[in-house]
Amino acid sequence: MAISYWRRRDRYYRLLGNKCTRCNAEYYPPVYICRRCGSESLIDAEMPGTGKILTYTILREVMSGFEGQQPIIIGIVQLDNGVKVLGQIVDTPIDALKIGCKVRTVFRKIREESSAGQIYYGYKFTVLC
């Protein structure tokens, strides 16, 4: 596993962001300084696993490691705590997608280096409505 991915695996596996202990603002990905109040006192916070689709796009050409998955749907999801995150939307026919659809996170393979390489796991979204 690439070291950079390994360092951030809790972000990808559990949607682990952080939360300002002074003003309760939440962030994903985590930040070092609260953008709302400037506090440096932030603690780990797992983001809620549900939200709604704000917007999405469809990729019909994909990068190496994602072959076979096209078309890939990438969406911006507003989680129930208001935090906006980018993620792949799966198990959903394109014609069933709508702005505002409720989604939940699922744990999936993101990509594989090769049949002999490492497997990268993380969150994706699936539509509930």
Partner: protein
């Protein structure tokens, strides 16, 4: 007792009941069944010239799913139901690990944010899930841990055109076991295991697909081991078939569980609620634990459930499980029934299946 698995009638039983701890109980369970279904008529259309096929479907994992992802999904549901904060052990029973060397259980542990755990992968063909469950029970009973997670999961392979391809399926079942308390769902009253060296089904290292000896997988393998394990359980603990409200047997196909149940003296009413093979196929190590989950979805306190797994190679674990008062409250909170997941499905054709399971690659 004959150990050559011949058809010689049983002459006696070795008393080998496992002394299960009464202070350990099932605190939660969760399953994951991928949404795609391949009807068996599609396999027959491609490989058998369209000859008649049993009216069954099998659950097919998507391109981005494997046993790790399904184990995590099932485990998260089980943890939510159990409301457990900390685990002491995680065992993943499977024969379809994505890494030949590297534990799946550590990825599951990381995804669940559980690090102070004894974690390991277990392999015993289709019975690795019930093994995991018994090991967790033993660790709790011995006082080594307070609670643990047992998972049975597989993305079962079948060589294209082989009989296995009609049923080899994907799914996961996870169980949280903890010290028994008022919220406990069920307790394992007794257990009995029976094994012998019987090579009915195998996959050599480096091979993509398993091989099997067709009808030999029945009488000397499936039936022999299940009958021994169940009879031993009955002898050791004094049970009779009528004591059980439900009986759950490993379901490699629609016929075997019915036949073994009738041979052992059970009736169709006792086994019918657990028969999932026609709807999802055979997800190997998840198989009998899924049957238990669908029964727990409807069981009442004090019901007695027989669960008997079978793993090729070969062996069976027979468990007698008593449902406790906590089941109704836990089910109400979880709102996550096995049959709902079976219903939420999308049928696919053979070409889509071949792509999803890597039988054709770009």
């Amino acid at each position: 007792m004959p150990l050559n698995n011949s058809l010689i009638p049983f002459k006696g039983w070795v008393n080998f009941g496992l002394k299960t701890p009464k202070n350990a109980a099932i605190a939660g369970y969760g399953v994951y069944i991928p949404r795609y279904r391949l009807p068996s008529v599609e396999v027959a259309r491609i490989w058998r010239g369209g000859e008649e096929a049993p009216l069954i479907k099998k659950a097919v994992a998507s391109l981005d799913e494997d046993i790790t992802t399904m184990a995590v999904e099932a485990a998260r549901r089980a943890i939510k139901m159990a409301e457990t904060k900390e685990l002491g052990a995680i065992f993943v029973g499977t024969e379809t690990k994505p890494y030949a060397v590297k534990p799946t259980s550590t990825i599951v542990a990381q995804a669940l944010n559980q690090h102070k755990v004894l974690a390991s992968d277990l392999e015993f063909a289709c019975k690795a899930g019930t093994e995991a469950l018994q090991l967790i029970l033993a660790l709790i009973g011995s006082g080594m841990i307070e609670s643990g997670l047992a998972i049975g999961v597989d993305t079962a392979q079948g060589r294209p055109g082989d009989d296995l391809e009609f049923t080899a399926a994907s799914a996961a079942a996870a169980y949280i076991l903890s010290k028994r308390d008022v919220g406990s769902i069920a307790v394992v009253e007794g257990a009995s295991s029976y094994v012998s060296d019987t090579t009915d089904f195998w996959r050599r290292a480096g091979q993509q697909y398993p091989r099997h000896l067709s009808r030999f997988t029945g009488e000397p393998a499936y039936f022999y081991h299940i009958q021994h394990a169940v009879k031993n359980l009955f002898d050791e603990f004094g049970y009779k078939p009528s004591d059980f409200k439900y009986a759950v047997f490993h379901q490699p196909n629609p016929r075997f569980p019915v036949e073994v149940a009738l041979r052992l003296g059970f009736n169709l009413e006792q086994i019918k609620p657990s028969l999932l093979n026609p709807y999802i196929g055979n997800p190997y190590a998840a198989n009998s634990l899924l049957g238990l989950a669908v029964v727990l979805d409807e069981a009442s306190p004090n019901d007695l459930i027989l669960v008997c797994s079978f793993g090729s190679g070969a062996g069976s674990d027979a468990l007698s499980i008593r449902v406790l008062d906590g089941v109704e409250e836990k089910r109400r909170k979880a709102q996550n029934k096995v049959r709902d997941m079976i219903e939420a499905s999308v049928e696919i054709d053979y070409a889509t299946y071949a792509k999803l399971r890597g039988k054709i690659v770009a």
